[in-house]
């Protein structure tokens, strides 16, 4: 009879004892030294680079000293209030959008207006000195890419999913080719293709800068993935809903907007949340095509000869930023899912 309770689950059966031994060894040899390096022996706030060289533990004072460069990149130093304001605006809007009470039609207009403000703040115009997008960097770039790619990619994905389920063969074929083509390719190759091909295919006057090119590639990539997720939800809607809407003489778009899509999207909230988290992480790839997101800012900060290049601490911090964004979002997705269940 296996023993019960905590002690029993740790050493009750031979299998449990073996597992306890193995995992305790893993924790002892990896987690404990890592904890000692990162917390106990670490240097926290000293601005002097010499303490970083002398430290046997983590060098968090490097992160603290370089925080401005890590978060804002190579943006002109005296104008840093602008990307700060842009980030604050996006974060505040995200925090507000979490509240169900804010989910009205005007939220979409508020987002649109705020994004225009963000672009103006970052790029200049209306009396602010213009700053070219090649100087944008760090956290604002990551946030803008994430929000715009997901915000534009999701409605596009819904349209693609509806197109894929259409009865018109030409429409269906084009949607299938686009979705399967984009989903079969690595994001890096799409980013490369966008940066190499767009200069060839567009005349000089219309050529978008690197930032917009990456944004277009990310949006198209996101739309294909969202299309597949929404298609799964659409497939789960019983035919009776379509027939009831037809009985009420609802035309196609009204049927979709008021009857089908609300149900379909509610069903696939977990898969949608997964896709959003994947898209948030995908924005980190733009560093390979030369855009300055937060990872490139980290690499640039490490190049400072005054400090002994504490790369591990820097990338742990950057990873921590992504982790907090993704983790908060998955908690929000759990909240959405729980809420959609009780609504039925």
């Amino acid at each position: 009879m296996p023993a019960s309770g905590l002690l029993g689950s740790l050493v009750g059966t031979p299998m449990n004892s073996a597992l306890t031994l193995v995992f305790a060894c893993i924790i002892l040899f990896s987690v404990l030294p890592a904890f000692r390096w990162a917390v106990l022996d670490a240097v926290w706030l000293d601005p002097d680079p010499a303490s970083c060289r002398a430290a046997s533990g983590a060098c968090w004072n490097f992160v603290y000293a370089k925080l401005g460069q890590l978060i804002f990149g190579i943006y002109p130093h005296e104008l840093r209030w602008r990307p700060f304001l842009a980030c604050a605006l996006i974060v505040a809007l995200l925090a507000w959008s979490v509240w169900p009470a804010s989910w009205r039609r005007r939220l979409a207009w508020i987002w649109l207006g705020s994004l225009i403000c963000v672009f103006l703040l970052m790029g200049g115009g209306f009396g602010l000195t213009p700053v070219p997008s090649s100087l944008w960097g760090g956290l604002p770039v990551t946030l803008i890419l994430t929000v715009v790619a997901i915000g534009l990619g999701f409605p596009l994905g819904i349209l693609l999913a509806l197109g894929r389920r259409s009865k018109l063969p030409a429409l269906r074929m084009s949607c299938v080719v686009f979705i399967e083509g984009v989903r079969g390719l690595p994001l890096l190759s799409i980013l490369f293709v966008a940066s190499i091909m767009l200069p060839l295919f567009l005349p000089e006057s219309l050529l978008p800068d690197k930032f917009v090119r990456a944004l277009v590639a990310l949006t198209l990539f996101a739309s294909a993935y969202f299309a597949e997720v929404v298609r799964g939800g659409l497939q789960a809607i019983p035919k009776g809903q379509y027939e009831a809407a037809a009985a009420l003489a609802l035309p196609y778009w009204n049927t979709q907007r008021r009857v089908i899509l609300p149900q379909a999207i509610r069903i696939v909230i977990p898969a949608l949340a997964n896709t959003v988290i994947v898209m948030i992480k995908n924005t980190s790839l733009v560093l390979v095509v030369g855009l300055f997101d937060i990872i490139s800012s980290g690499k640039a900060a490490l190049a400072d000869p005054a400090w002994p290049s504490p790369a591990a601490e820097t990338f742990l911090f950057i990873g921590g930023v992504f982790f907090s964004i993704c983790f908060s979002f998955s908690r929000f997705a759990d909240f959405l899912e729980a809420r959609s269940k009780t609504n039925h």
Binding site: L185, F192, A311
Partner: protein
């Protein structure tokens, strides 16, 4: 006319096709004029010429004088090598971690939950860059390399293992392979060709023995030797290759663990109860009843995860390992044949991923449990 749904549908499709056609014509004409004004050559005869690309490490031999065809092939071989190794390693680890999550041992389940959450919320490129940056700090310089096993040396320049090389003649190898195949299928062959199974067994033994004799195999052992600045000889795992293998395996293991956990949880509770009614312990139920069914249920999500591994292998460019995308990028910037290069990139990745999908779909149809 537009009130009728059928006419509307035809009009919409015509409009869509015309729009696509016009857009394509515009893009192509702009591209042609751009190519002419910038003097960029178009054509695929460059593929036969020497590439002058330096590929720092690869599974196939390569030197800068090889043709572009060879460089492309070497790049594809590198990508397939990394992808295959990561798929195999992460499936094995994912099985272990996924099952650990379901265990009643709190240490095991909490550790695997943390692993899964870390993999889920960390971008893979950050994991790779982080591992690459600490490689130089954790491992000793070459002259003080750790000797893990006799002949295996681990230092900041990489891991060097002894290499056991098997050389044989192709004819002999073919004979051995055919012999093994005939042995495996001897019953089916007997049913088809009306000769006794014993005949097929004798034939396969004959082929095996003949193959081994003809093959003239040589076994050579190559142990790494320290040559003043580095170890040479034997199998060498450079920091770049080790980083991409380790990083991608750790990352993918988290996802495969979740898939396996989902698969085990989706098995009908009745199976567990039936096992308990037969008096089987929890471990035996897992081993004989639940896991065999799980492995048949999780083929589709595993398939998309494997395709993700192939796509994530392109991240090797961030740590300096010359995978296919990195090689093609160098080739495009050297020869400025952008359009051909891009088409080759898209074509190769689409072919790899479609083949993986087709293989998985075939396997799923054969062994998959799709419902009930």
């Amino acid at each position: 006319m537009f009130r009728d749904a059928r006419h509307r549908g035809i009009a919409i499709q015509l409009g869509l096709l015309i729009a696509i056609f016009i857009a394509a014509a515009l893009l192509v004409s702009t591209a042609v004029s751009n190519l002419e004004t910038r003097g960029i050559p178009v054509g695929i005869d460059f593929l036969g010429m020497p590439s002058e690309i330096v590929i720092s490490e690869s599974v196939l031999a390569h030197d800068p004088g090889d043709s572009h065809y060879r460089s492309i092939l070497v790049g594809i071989a590198n990508t397939l090598f990394v992808s295959t190794l990561v798929i195999i390693l992460s499936t094995v680890c994912g099985l272990v971690i996924g099952l650990a999550r379901l265990s009643e041992n709190p240490l095991a389940s909490i550790t695997s939950k943390c692993w899964v959450e870390l993999a889920r919320n960390f971008p893979p490129i950050v994991i790779l860059i982080f591992l690459y940056s600490i490689w130089w700090k954790v491992f000793p310089p070459v002259d003080q390399a750790w000797e893990l096993l006799p002949g295996t040396y681990l230092s900041m320049r990489g891991l060097n293992c002894p290499e056991i090389a098997l050389s044989f003649s192709p004819v002999g190898a073919l004979g051995v392979v055919i012999g093994l195949v005939v042995w495996a299928l001897h019953r089916r062959l007997a049913a088809r060709i009306r000769l006794a199974p014993r005949f097929w067994k004798l034939l396969s033994i004959g082929l095996l023995v003949g193959g081994v004799v003809l093959a003239d195999t040589h076994l050579t052992l190559e142990v790494p030797q320290f040559t003043g600045s580095n170890y040479s000889g034997g199998i060498e795992l450079s920091p770049e290759l080790s980083t991409i293998l380790l990083g991608l395996t750790l990352y993918t293991t988290g996802f495969i663990a979740e898939i396996i956990r989902g698969g085990v949880l989706s098995i009908n509770k009745g199976q567990w109860e039936a096992g308990r009614a037969l008096g089987l312990s929890r471990g035996k139920i897992l081993r004989f009843i639940v896991i065999p069914q799980t492995l048949r249920v999780i083929v589709p999500p595993l398939n998309s995860q494997y395709i993700n591994v192939v796509k994530n292998s392109t991240l090797a460019i961030a740590v300096g390992y010359p995978d296919f995308l990195a090689v093609m990028n160098t080739m495009i910037s050297k020869t400025s044949h952008s359009i051909e290069g891009v088409l080759i990139i898209l074509g190769v990745y689409l072919v790899i991923n479609l083949s993986l999908s087709t293989l998985a779909n075939w396997y799923n149809r054969r062994v998959g449990l799709t419902g009930g």
